[in-house]
Symmetry: C2
C-alpha cells in the first residue's frame, strides 16, 4: 500500500457553511462532488468532530462557497485551522444569508451552491451529507482554487481532521525553515510570504514582530526551526 | 438557480473498474474522493444504468485508476462513451488484475487504488459506493488529468449519464465545425486533432477517410456540420 497514490485524486477547495438556530459557522473542505444532475444533488464529507458537522446535523442545510484560485492563505486559515467554538469565523468576511439560511461567503469566492440535506451516510470518522441544491449562482468570474494548486503553489497544509490527511515527513531541505507548531505551516525563506507583503529571501529572523502565520494566525514565538 | 455554478466544482478523471465472475469492465468517472484517512476509505458515484454498477454490486470490489494528464482522448472514449455490454473495453489496453480481482489499468495512468465495498447509498439515478482501500500504488510519475483540463484543453465532452452532465448549447462560433452524432464531440478545424496526427487548421473535409472520432471511434459519416 502506497499512500502517495491517494494524493493523485484531484479536488477543489470550498467553504462549507451551515447554521444552528441563530448561529452560523463554516469550514474548509475539499471533498465535494456532484451526485446527480436531475435532481441536482451534491455531496460533502465532514469530520464528525467539527462544529459545522453539528450545525448541518441540526439544521439539515449547508452551502458550498467555491474559493477563487487567487484567494489568500489567510481565508483558508481562518475557516480551516480554527474552530468556530471559540472564534467567529465570519469576522471581517463579506457574506449573505442564502435561501436555506446558511451563509454564502462572498469574499474570495466565485460561486455557491445552497442545499438542503436529503440523506446522509455514516463513514467512520466522517459523515457524507447529500443535499439537493435549491439555489446556486456565479459570484464573480475566475478560476476555482484546486487542492493541488493550494498545496503546490500556495504551500498550504492539510488539517489533521481532513479526510485526505496523511502524515508527512517534515520538509528538511534547505536551511532556516520554520514550522508553525499550531497548524504545521512551514515558513520557507526562499518563498517568503507574498500574500502578506513578505518578499522571497526574507529570513525568518527578519520577519516583522507582528507577522503571524498566514494559515492559522499564530505569532512568531509559536514557530520552531525545522531540524535538519 | 444558475447551473454554471456546478461547473466550478473541481474533479480528476478516472477509470473505475470492477469484475463479475470471470468478466471485467470499467468506465470513466470524475466523481471520486477520499472519505477518511484511517481507515483509508474512498468513494465513487456510479450511474445505476452502467454495466460497471452491476459489476460492483455483484462483486463488491472496485479499482480506481488515475488517468495521466497526457492521456489521449481515445482512452476516455473507449471507456467512457461505449458500453461494456457490446464491446470489450480492455482490448489493446495494458492492465493487470489487482488484489481484489478488479483490473488495474496501466495504459496512460499514474496511480491506482484497489478497494472492497464496505457500504453504499442510493442517491436517485446514481449509487455512492464507499470502499476500503486494500492496495494502492504509483504506476508512473506524472500529473493527474483534471476534469477542467479534459474540457478546456482536450475539448472533451460529458456523457449524458454522468452526474455532472448539463445540457449545453452547441458551440456555434466559427465556421465548418462538425459534431459527432454519437458522442457530441465537436471537430474544430482551428484545433485539429493533434492526438491523432491531425494538425491545426485542417478542414473537416480534408481529414483522411479513415479518421474516426477521437472520443467514441465513430466514422466521418457519423458527423454533421454544426449549424450557425
Amino acid at each position: 500500500m502506497n499512500f502517495e497514490a491517494f494524493k493523485k485524486i484531484s479536488y477543489g477547495l470550498y467553504i462549507v457553511s451551515s447554521k444552528k438556530n441563530s448561529k452560523i459557522n463554516g469550514q474548509i473542505a475539499n471533498t465535494v462532488f456532484q451526485v446527480s444532475a436531475d435532481p441536482p444533488l451534491i455531496a460533502v464529507c465532514i469530520n464528525k468532530e467539527n462544529l459545522t458537522h453539528e450545525f448541518i446535523e441540526n439544521s439539515k442545510v449547508f452551502c458550498i462557497s467555491v474559493l477563487a484560485k487567487d484567494a489568500p492563505l489567510r481565508i483558508i486559515g481562518q475557516f480551516g485551522f480554527r474552530s468556530g467554538r471559540d472564534y467567529n469565523k465570519f469576522k471581517n468576511i463579506d457574506y449573505t444569508i442564502g435561501k436555506t439560511g446558511a451563509p454564502i461567503v462572498l469574499s474570495f469566492t466565485i460561486a455557491y451552491l445552497d442545499a438542503r440535506v436529503i440523506g446522509n451516510m455514516n463513514v467512520g470518522t466522517h459523515t457524507f451529507f447529500v443535499g439537493k441544491v435549491v439555489d446556486s449562482d456565479i459570484i464573480k468570474k475566475g478560476e476555482p482554487m484546486t487542492y493541488a494548486y493550494y498545496h503546490r503553489v500556495k504551500g498550504g497544509k492539510t488539517p489533521v481532521k481532513a479526510p485526505t490527511y496523511i502524515k508527512e515527513d517534515r520538509e528538511v531541505n534547505g536551511l532556516d525553515k520554520y514550522v508553525c507548531k499550531i497548524c504545521g505551516y512551514i515558513y520557507d525563506p526562499d518563498k517568503g510570504d507574498p500574500d502578506n507583503g513578505i518578499a522571497p529571501d526574507t529570513m525568518f529572523e527578519n520577519l516583522p514582530d507582528d507577522w503571524v502565520c498566514p494559515i492559522c494566525g499564530a505569532t512568531k514565538d509559536q514557530f520552531e526551526k525545522v531540524k535538519q
